[in-house]
């Protein structure tokens, strides 16, 4: 299998190190470009400054499975198997963690997982009230009461039949 040359170390915001196959890490565009910038250097440590270890672990798990499934189902059926895995993968992630994960994935520029996480969040917030989504994202309302009333008025049609939670 892969020699140590094909490995890279990803360092989380807490300083925790993860040794990862290049085949997996190359799905993170930011890692790819960092390594290209310092080509020839023996130092294969990439710091992912803002990404916490728990998210680094999730992202590695996703792409490890992605790479394995792609290899195993080269002949076809990859997309189906990937969908199955994505379902399991999302089930073990807390709804609150999805926000942190999406920011991390966006920062690392990993398109496949970005779509998966964005879709999961969209599913979670669809048809939810403004108050619920505000709390979910931990976002502070920076509108004045008048501004808020005006924006609600602009889109009055969009408020019928919304779930309470």
């Amino acid at each position: 299998m892969a020699s140590t040359d094909d490995k890279v170390i990803l360092k989380s915001s807490e300083g925790e190190c993860f040794e990862v196959d290049m085949a997996v890490a190359s799905h993170l565009q930011i890692v790819k470009s960092v390594l290209e910038d310092c080509e020839g250097s023996s130092d294969k440590v990439v710091s992912l400054f803002i990404v916490e270890a728990k998210y680094v672990a999730m992202i590695i798990e996703y792409y490890k499975n992605y790479v394995e499934l792609k290899e195993k189902h080269e002949e076809g059926g990859f997309e189906e198997k990937l969908k199955e895995f994505e379902k399991q993968f999302l089930e073990q992630i807390d709804k609150k963690e999805l926000k942190g994960l999406v920011m991390a994935v966006n920062y690392l520029n990993a398109p496949a997982l970005f779509d998966v996480v964005c879709t999961a969040i969209a599913k979670h917030i669809e048809n939810k009230s403004v108050e619920y989504v505000r709390e979910y994202f931990g976002i502070v309302n920076d509108f004045t009461a008048e501004e808020e009333a005006q924006i609600r008025e602009e889109h009055r049609w969009a408020y019928d039949g919304v779930n309470d939670d």
Binding site: V34, D37, S47, F49, I50, V102, M103, N106, Y107, F114, C118, T119, I121, A122, K123, I125, E126, N127, V130, V133, R134, F137, I139, V140, N141, D142, F143, E148, I151, R152, E154, H155, W157, A158, Y159, V162
Partner: protein, 253 residues
């Protein structure tokens, strides 16, 4: 590489934009009140590009006013204009608009584009204009015994993987001779529209992905024989049956 200069709020806005674009026009508009960051994401062209049909450019190019989209400063404004103000396309034989909550395509065939039995006989049907009509002409029923109106629309024009309903859009009463035998057109199925016209649902159909051929929509009498008149026909409209879209369902075209 350093983390300095990393703009976290730009990163967040990018995520919000993507998430919103996966929810739908209704959720996007409602959630724009969350904060100024959400509002800005909810206005972005990247989001509304996803809600407009992929071929909106070529549809507008077929309209009687092909430069109309230059009047809008954002795709969101264009979207809502296409929801509220149908445009005329294909030599004004067809009107096009969008269903506000799903962004799916709606079309109305004008009366001239329909097959109206006896429509060319002035004793039975007259062609006039009506101020509130989106087309230049309407068909006014003077008097007939046998009422039959139909139209066809090519399936490829409609949004794929979508439930549609067809409606006859009309005004006036097709008064039957005997009030006890009033025709279906006056029945409880008739609903008033926002534009002041009335509509009757003729039926529904599912437009499958990759569907070819034409969809035929028609209305005719089962029990004919009475003389009736006074009906003004604007056209037949096809629009999506209101079913709330769930994220991940109903793949976009």
């Amino acid at each position: 590489m350093g983390s300095r200069g990393l703009d976290l709020s730009a990163l967040l806005e990018d995520c919000i934009e993507n998430v919103l674009s996966l929810t739908g026009p209704r959720d996007t508009c409602r959630l724009s009140v969350i904060s100024s960051l959400f509002r800005s994401a909810a206005k972005s062209d990247a989001v509304w590009q996803k809600y407009l049909p992929p071929d909106y450019g070529s549809i507008i190019a077929r309209s009687t006013d092909p430069s109309m989209f230059t009047r809008f400063s954002s795709l969101k404004d264009l979207y809502f204009s296409l929801c509220d103000n149908p445009i005329l396309i294909d030599d004004a034989k067809l009107s096009f608009s969008l269903d506000k909550s799903t962004g799916k395509k709606c079309y109305m065939l004008c009366a001239r584009n329909l097959v109206i039995i006896w429509g060319d006989t002035p004793e039975y049907w007259q062609w006039t204009s009506e101020a509130e009509c989106r087309f230049g002409e309407v068909a006014e029923l003077i008097s007939v015994c046998w009422l039959q109106i139909g139209g066809k629309i090519s399936a490829s024009l409609l949004s794929p993987a979508t439930f549609y309903s067809a409606y006859l859009v009309s005004m006036g009463l097709a008064g039957a001779e005997s009030p006890t035998r009033s025709v279906y057109l006056n029945g409880p199925y008739r609903r008033e529209r926002k534009d002041g016209w009335f509509e009757i649902e003729l039926g529904e159909f599912f437009n499958k992905e990759g569907e070819e051929g034409e969809i035929e929509m028609s209305v005719y009498e089962i029990k004919g024989g009475n003389w009736k008149g006074g009906l003004i026909v604007q056209g037949i409209e096809s629009r999506p049956k209101i079913k709330r879209k769930r994220v991940g369902e109903n793949p976009k075209e």
